[in-house]
């Protein structure tokens, strides 16, 4: 049975089937579903076409009946962060999609219209202002292809907005699921990770276990909540609410294999256009969580969007932990026994 083999992996550290860490080709079948289980599904969130409309957030809240909250997760509170257009703040028990807004600027070496001696280097440049994107500024400066970076009036700085709709990653090795002591979190037939709210006793262990800070406890409820990848809609053949609502197809839902192929194509296309900084995040099955069910195309480092640059599932180190726990326990038994040896008193 599955439980026995996972027991040996956690205690012995011998893990040929990658139960704790590493790539798993069929995570759903690996968790005991019959061979005719549905294909693993997921999200490909292409942030290069995200316009920050937050339709995904609204659709998610509406469909899943999530309570209103502020950027700190306080239920029924209305608050502005004051930092950006992002007043959702973070993923949490009441926000299962979160659109990050990052306003960035950089200095550009714009050729100024110069009046100089004929033949001098600067004199060859035209007197009229250059187009918004100067030939010397490669297309990588743009937010992919959606818009040209805006120049400020000073002319030597330009700005861009990064927008990204974050969501639960539905990891191949989901720490939240691994550490849940009640079995409330489980792997569905679609390969996603879902909380059974009638089982959760609010121990909160999954909250610090998640390397992405996704799952959280609802304050007035005590239980934990997170994205279910619209498990209820999937079982009825519908796609998740956020993907349905996304007007730019930044959020794409589908079979994970197909999404990965599409993402690779998209990345290649962007790189061919010279978009620097484009990268896939969570796509690699050899990464610290065995690859994510929900992965992203980002235009900057992950931490810019509030994502961890190199997350690793905590259970990778569990065999070492149990070894130390066992050694420590044996040490206590041995040393206390030794205290009774020798002269009486």
């Amino acid at each position: 049975m599955t439980t026995i083999s996972s027991a040996s992996a956690a205690f012995t550290g011998e893990d040929p089937g990658n139960r704790l860490f590493g790539p798993v080709p069929d995570v759903t079948g690996d968790r005991g579903y019959a061979d005719d289980h549905p294909a693993r599904v997921g999200f490909f969130t292409d942030t290069s076409v995200c316009i920050g409309c937050k339709a995904c957030e609204v659709a998610c809240k509406e469909w899943n009946l999530l309570p209103m909250d502020d950027a700190e997760g306080t239920v029924d509170a209305l608050g502005l962060t004051g930092a950006s257009y992002d007043n959702t703040g973070m993923l949490g028990a009441n926000s299962w999609r979160h659109v990050a807004f990052v306003e960035q600027s950089r200095a550009v070496d714009l050729p100024m219209p110069t009046v100089g001696l004929p033949g001098a280097a600067g004199g060859q440049r035209p007197l009229e202002d250059p187009p918004v994107v100067h030939p010397q500024v490669p297309a990588s400066a743009t937010t992919a292809e959606q818009s040209a970076p805006l120049q400020t009036s000073s002319g030597d700085r330009e700005i861009r907005w990064l927008m990204s709709s974050d969501v639960c990653k539905h990891c191949t090795h989901a720490a939240c699921l691994d550490v849940c002591p009640t079995g409330s979190l489980f792997r569905t037939e679609f390969g996603t990770v879902v909380v059974q709210e009638d089982i959760c006793n609010g121990c909160g262990y999954c909250v610090p276990a998640c390397p992405y800070g996704v799952i959280d406890q609802r304050q007035d409820d005590g239980r934990v909540f997170k994205c279910t990848l619209c498990y209820d809609r999937l079982t009825d053949g519908l796609q998740p609410a956020c993907a349905s609502a996304c007007p730019t197809e930044s959020i794409q839902f589908g079979d994970l294999d197909a999404l990965q192929a599409r993402a690779d194509e998209r990345l290649a296309a962007l790189q061919a256009k010279g978009v620097e900084g484009a990268r896939l995040y969570g796509r690699d099955e050899t990464d610290g969580v065995g690859g994510a069910g929900a992965f992203f195309l980002l235009l900057d480092e992950p931490e810019v969007y509030g994502l961890p640059p190199d997350p690793v599932v905590t259970t990778r180190d569990l065999p070492a932990m149990w070894k130390s726990v066992g050694a420590g326990a044996a040490m206590v038994l041995g040393l206390v026994a030794s205290a009774f040896v020798g002269r009486r008193r």
Partner: protein
Amino acid sequence: MTAGEAPEGSGVGVPGAGWRRADGPPAQDRERRRRGGGRRGGRGEIPMVDEAEFTSYYGRPVIKPPVWKTPDVPLYLFLGGAAGTSAVLGALAEGTRRPALARVAHLTAGGGALASVGFLIHDLGKPSRFLNMLRVLKTTSPLSVGSWILAPFSALTTATAGAHLLGWFPLLRRFTGVGAAVLGGPMTTYTAALLTNTAVPSWHEAHRELPFVFAGSAMAAGGGITMALTPLDEAGPARKVAAMGAAIELAAMHRVEHGHGLVSEPYRTGRAGKLLKAARGCTATGAGLALLAGRSRAAAVGSGALVTTGSVLTRFGIFDAGMASARDPKYTVEPQRARARERDTAGSGKAAVTGAGP
């Protein structure tokens, strides 16, 4: 500072193509101040991780700080440890005919275990569902394994303590006492795995040492309490256990506080740093006093109280340090960024460009 040493304005060609957050000075100042504070708190120690690029999303934490409440969880850790050691002491005292020590140890174990369970249940978001802890047994969840240790342990220690109080079933008491003692060892250390098997940087990175800190702390607490409450002529083993435990606690905690570079920093700074400094003082003084505790009951009480206080403070300090490391994104981002950069330079250049392998 994403631009590195590239001149301002060259923009293109440096990491991130020169882009940096443009949301004005307040947020950036906040970030800089916090990092500066960390350096000052380091008290002149050489930072193990360079002041490299550190970007965050408006200074927000990357991981969610634990929702565990204080004092519930630190006390749960402390009481479980004290009860575990006491159960072992009690069974051995009973076996070696030290009735007074056995009685004190068994009462400590029973009381500690019950209170520990109480704090654990009180910390749940849905306390009425505490029995769901025993719904499955998962070796990947230290809380699940721990529940299966704690439940029989608390039942056995409570039965043993009850038999002592009522004077009933002296023979049965020996069996329950031995059963509790066997579980007493794991009782002292499983809570360390509970903390380290998380994404909290300062807990996770110390996963090899924290079980030994908890074992030492538990021995100090169990030995200290029983030493203080037992007449001198029977308390010898308790004194030895307390002294050994204090020494292990101090040694292992030193490695946690200094052995892990940046993520050791929260153990030395802020409230956690103060708590752990006080813990060191109490534990060291108590251990020293334990040498005299064989001659004077007053010294035994003082020593026991000091090492026990040290154990309590250690648990609160470790808990606080983990919370601090979870709240500040630098402890999550910087080590991961350093690891990713190392891998990118080691691997092919392609990985660095595509960012494959986040």
